[in-house]
Symmetry: C2
Subunit: 773 residues, 2 copies
């Protein structure tokens, strides 16, 4: 149908782009985006429709679809098992390193406190050094928590290297070093990253670089499938870190993912449950005593189900105060870390890896000195009366962890309250702070000292070149002031059945709420780690307040950090000013660069060199000589075509598309975390530059369009909800061919079987192009 | 700008629609949709943009926005409190009615079984009759569970009367009668509906009919706000029914809602938590013994936290078998109920309310006879040795509920195992089936009898004219065969620590999974009602299997029922055949009826009479005389305009829009659950028919458009993801004015403050229209 015009039209239309100034690239760089940013258009919508893919799909039978579905679930299973095992491994390693450290230190300080101090410092320094060395030399992307980057990935922005095999390794071993080395950071965020790495590696069929790859598992070509797997991985990470399967699902849903489909939910839940089974089995195995210092453990990390069951209305005021404190301290934490991280990135980390390593080692030294030295300055307290408080072992024998640590005490029946939280593993310290039936265990002075010191350490440690989670430090900080408030409540409301441990838990929730601003998932995680469903309403109250207070000052920790790292997240709602802008105004500074259907290779190259656009409209001429937009071609696909050279042709006329199925579709799929090709890497001879390329088989024939005067808010909704990458702004249409309403979309398949049978499987536009010859 | 053409063009463009055949209505009725179906376009996207609304919004200050936000949260709070109180009220009433019933029956059968039997039957009949009478005479929409209708409402389809005040009343009192009357149905589904009704009534500012309304609370004009509230209500209903706040949130998320926004999640969670607080406070209040037969209760309905903690790998096989049985029986249940309900609708319920009442009364009689008579035929068993099983009270004294019911037994130390489950309240029966440490309590024979009889009763009762939930019957059925399998497991794996109660729980999960096909929310609900987090992986395993088996046969219960009731739900994914259709093909049987911008009133009336379309494109002429589509006008808005007559004008030229702000925006908002106006109800004089109406201020200036050859699957995604109601199919564009990419949407507000200031708040197109004079 288009044929009679193509012969003539091709010449006139061919150089549409050449009329455009070559310098228009500068006009689109108003915001400096990181060059690695990519759209998250799921391939289903944009890329998948090109002719090559349709042909490839058609060759795949039903067996392939079954294989694909089975593999999806199998991968979810493997992600669960892998993340669970990684969590168990990290846990065992950390607990054992810490155990050896404290056992050695305790046995040495029986003879000399100074030698014990040295051993303690060196042990910590060694672990921390190993961590920072691994990260800086081997896996730079493993530094930090990784959650902002994963969030960005799921929102559509790749950070290079974030999902590589080496990052996975760096994360696991780095975490062991940094947490075992006693720094003020946690292993939970890194576990989320670990889960995501495992998922991503599975999704792309293993690591090619390390020859751990097979074509049998490389079936997830679409960006959406890979994103789904990474979402599963994140949920698995949280589930493994906190042994909270439901919390993991909600975390993935609320905090990490940008596009959520209900079909995915069940798979994510499955992965989380697998993690729970794996971790629980490992715990059972540990009960037989094979796990060394890890001991037997329990599935619930900090079980306070024996604590306060009830609350009276007078207690709501102190609980609200805890919420306010959490909001203030959390917002301050975000602000301070933002400030320090940006300073660090600007001045410190530019000077190379040595500075990074040195920095971490100094922080490790300071942390060791504080955590060893401060308890020395505290006076020990007498153990609680064993008759009044049955079941409490006080003091613990040296070399074991637990409550009521005897450290630098004159008498055997004394304990050092500061050492109980400071000179202990994190898990034990939190367990002690949460502990019920232990009134007056801590002096207010010790808690204040610990709060100030640990808060400062956590702020300073954040952003260094080691894997670092913020959950556990947050819980430590929060439970300290929570317990402080609890002590006051015990003092003022003497008659009530108040447990300081419950207030510590609420404090932990409030700080995390004030810093991370998560709500539902945090609530559920707090419930699951403490196994006390009855505290849910109180946790909610505290979270509501702390989030509201925090939101008054700044954004959540992950958003702040993502912004700092230049990860441009698209929020789920359009900004208010967008209501008053039109699509045309939003794109008015652009000069649109179009390609004709058949284009000279040399012209493609010069266009790709002259600008950085990622997509180009393709125009052709219709029956009556008018120009028609026939689709969108992606830069990355043009690069693949230029590199393969397979489709170059001598004639400036459209090719016969039936013969073009030479491309494997996977050629067009960009590996995760790679930067993709660049036009500079492609070398073409002079002769090749004179050849032609027919773009029709490779374009997306119908990208979404909006009329020029649609408000930008509506365009934003379209873009964000559908996860698009390009929208064409077009002139207001001259007529309406039809209206699509609910009725038109509710036709049952049987009503259309006749229609479908008559049609070929390829796209109608392409058919019409094919039939033109 | 358009001015010079409007004078001439108006005459030529005016009768665009009149060229169309008036019979085109018939061409769009290929599927018979219920006349009440409406789109779920949130007003934000479609309606809200008209000029009148923008003006109304502009008059509202910041104070109004704060008020609006506060009211949103306040309403969530009220929904939580209201639903919680409703649940407590229903619970107390049901338990007390049942308590009196059983107490009376037990005391009478000491003397005469026959008189006791009569009293039992009459008591049940009275309660059931009151229920069916209320429902049929007063609130016909209160019949059934209501979940399919609510699901439809949130998907965009109104069922008339489903959210009225009378429905709420009918649901609450109907539930009490039907559940208290011992029918094989539950009160959980109706509670979801109750929560939704409360939410909807709040959202529309009370019930006008019963003069429970105030303009101060009528601020939720947008469909989306109301939908959000209803979602909160659903979550509150589940939270109240099962005392499972997290399960409620997930139920709303997974099963009910169609458009989920993460901002909503926190509000839904808040509502659920409020419900938890209310219910818990009521429970505490009941502990003082003020609740009569309800007793003290506990927040956890069926606490089995003392049960089986661990499981061995041999047990996975019987658990998988439970899953398969659940899938089979669940699918069979769906099929049978579908069949019976459709038969009932076709033949029985057409004959009027008397038949409906008679039907329910007969079912009540049959149920009473079976539940009283069958236990009489069973031989009693001896109570377990009180030394072997400490803490078990056997038998219970007559007149109290509980385990080991003594009914028609020769000796005092005997109990009737069938009466324990059949002649008992539902809650107690389930508690007994779930109970741990009660080996060999039931004989296999009793369980099989109960399973067959109760299954049949549940199938027959489903679809009658009383409020009826399927959760509790499902749990009863499932736990029966679960316990049967558990008994076999105890027999075969003697050495293992197996609890029959755990298998009963798994059976319950499997039946619900096989019938309702919910996954995550069901899992969490099961965990929350039993307070045993450790069983989560097992529940998941069973659910995975039962859902997969069930899906092999048919759709979920709610989908089947929604389909039967003619509620056309849009699924989240496009159907496969849509990939091979274009937008044009989907709408090819339509003749599009357009309006010119200024149109004669008489013409509007005749167009509205001649077809049933809900939206019409409006065309006008551009600068160069070409036609331009300037927007979409809704039928409902035209009806409002025709009725008010305020905007009729003598001149056939565009009006001055600055003066048109005579409409209150709420005029355009259709009350929930009303059928809306009809053109037949509007009476216009001959003179009025000769006047003109300028549609420009009332149209949506930029509905979403798609090019004619876009695949229907993509159109579906656009329609479904954005919750649209109308999409214009337009010709392929001739040029691309701009490309919207991520960069264009990430501009910060400050970059555009200059632009925004220069612009007025109204829409650019409208401005250009205004400036034309």
């Amino acid at each position: 149908m288009l044929s009679n015009h193509l012969q003539n039209g091709i010449e006139t239309a061919r150089l549409v782009w050449s009329r455009l100034p070559s310098s228009e690239e500068g006009e689109r760089t108003e915001i400096e985006l990181p060059s690695h940013s990519r759209g998250a258009e799921s391939l289903d919508y944009e890329v998948i429709e090109n002719y090559a893919y349709r042909e490839a799909q058609a060759q795949r039978g039903k067996l392939w679809v079954s294989y694909y579905v089975v593999l999806k679930w199998l991968f979810s299973l493997i992600i669960g098992i892998g993340t669970g095992l990684a969590a168990v491994f990290i846990n065992l390693a950390v607990e054992n390193f810490s155990g050896w450290k404290y056992a050695a230190t305790f046995s040495i300080i029986q003879h000399s406190y100074f030698v014990g101090f040295l051993v303690y410092i060196l042990f910590n320094l060694g672990l921390v050094f190993s961590s920072v060395y691994i990260v800086t030399k081997f896996a730079p992307a493993a530094a930090g928590s990784g959650i902002p980057e994963i969030k960005g990935y799921l929102n559509g922005v790749d950070t290079p290297g974030i999902l590589l095999f080496r990052t996975l390794i760096g994360k696991v071993f780095g975490s062991i070093g940094s947490v075992g080395g006693g720094l003020a950071l946690g292993k939970e965020g890194p576990l989320v990253h670990t889960g995501a790495c495992i998922a991503s590696l599975l999704g792309q069929g293993g690591s090619k670089r390390y020859h751990l790859s097979s074509k049998w598992v490389r079936v997830f070509e679409s960006d959406r499938d890979r994103r789904d797997l990474v979402t599963c991985g994140c949920a698995a990470g949280v589930a493994a870190a906190f042994r909270a399967p439901v919390g993991g699902v909600l975390f993935a849903l609320e905090e990490v993912t940008s596009w959520w489909r209900s079909q995915l939910m069940w798979r994510v839940f499955f992965t989380s449950a697998v993690v729970a089974v794996v971790v629980r089995s490992a715990m059972n195995w540990c009960k037989s005593g094979k796990c060394g210092h890890f001991g037997s453990g329990g599935f619930i990390i900090w079980d306070i189900s024996g604590g306060q069951e009830d609350y009276s209305f007078q207690e709501l005021l102190p609980m609200a105060i805890i919420g306010v404190i959490g909001g203030l301290l959390g917002a301050l934490f975000n602000q301070l870390t933002l400030f320090i991280t940006s300073w660090r990135r600007k001045y410190l980390h530019k000077k190379g890896n040595r500075i990074k390593i040195l920095e971490v080692c100094i922080i490790s030294l300071v942390t060791s000195v504080i955590s060893f030295g401060l308890p020395l300055l505290r006076r020990c307290s007498a153990c609680p009366d064993s008759e009044m408080s049955p079941g409490i072992e006080c003091p613990r024998p040296p070399g074991t962890d637990g409550n009521f640590v005897n450290f630098y005490c004159a008498k055997d029946s004394e304990y050092n309250d500061l050492a109980t939280i400071f000179f202990n593993t994190q898990d034990d310290a939190i367990r002690n702070l949460f502990s019920a039936k232990t009134f007056h265990e801590y002096s207010a002075q010790s808690l204040v000292i610990f709060l100030v010191m640990f808060y400062s350490l956590a702020v300073v440690t954040f952003g260094t070149a080691v894997p670092a989670g913020q959950f556990v430090p947050g819980i430590m900080i929060g439970s300290t002031y929570g317990r402080l408030v609890g002590m006051l409540v015990v003092k003022f409301y003497r008659k009530l059945n108040v447990e300081e441990g419950t207030y510590a838990l609420l404090g932990a929730a409030s700080f995390l709420g004030g810093s991370m601003r998560m709500t539902v998932s945090l609530c559920v995680i707090m419930v699951e780690i403490t196994n006390n469903l009855k505290l849910l309403p109180l946790i909610m109250l505290v979270l509501l307040i702390s989030k509201a207070v925090g939101d008054f000052f700044n954004k959540g920790l992950y958003e702040e950090q993502a912004q700092l790292r230049g990860i441009p997240l698209l929020e789920s709602r359009p900004k208010l000013y967008m209501r008053n802008m039109t699509a045309k105004e939003a794109s008015k500074n652009q000069k649109v660069v179009s390609f004709p259907r058949v284009v000279k290779v040399g012209n493609i190259v010069s266009v790709l060199r002259s600008n950085k656009h990622n997509g180009y409209p393709v125009v052709d001429q219709g029956q009556n000589g008018e120009t028609l937009v026939i689709g969108l071609i992606l830069r990355s696909h043009l690069l693949v075509l230029l590199q393969s050279k397979m489709d170059f042709q001598n004639s400036p006329f459209p090719c016969d598309m039936r013969g073009i199925n030479r491309h494997n579709f996977s050629d067009f799929v960009k590996p995760v975390s790679s930067k993709g090709m660049s036009i500079e890497e492609i070398h073409l001879t002079e002769d090749e530059l004179e050849l032609y390329l027919d773009l029709a088989p490779f374009l997306n024939p119908s990208p979404y369009i909006v009329p020029e005067d649609m408000s930008l808010a509506k365009v934003y909704n379209l873009f964000r909800q559908l996860g698009l990458r390009h929208i064409f702004v077009v002139p207001r249409p001259s007529r309406v061919i039809g209206l699509i309403t609910r009725k038109d979309l509710l036709l049952e398949e049987r009503d259309h079987s006749a229609t479908t049978e008559l049609q070929s499987t390829s796209h109608p536009l392409l058919d019409s192009l094919l039939n033109q010859e």
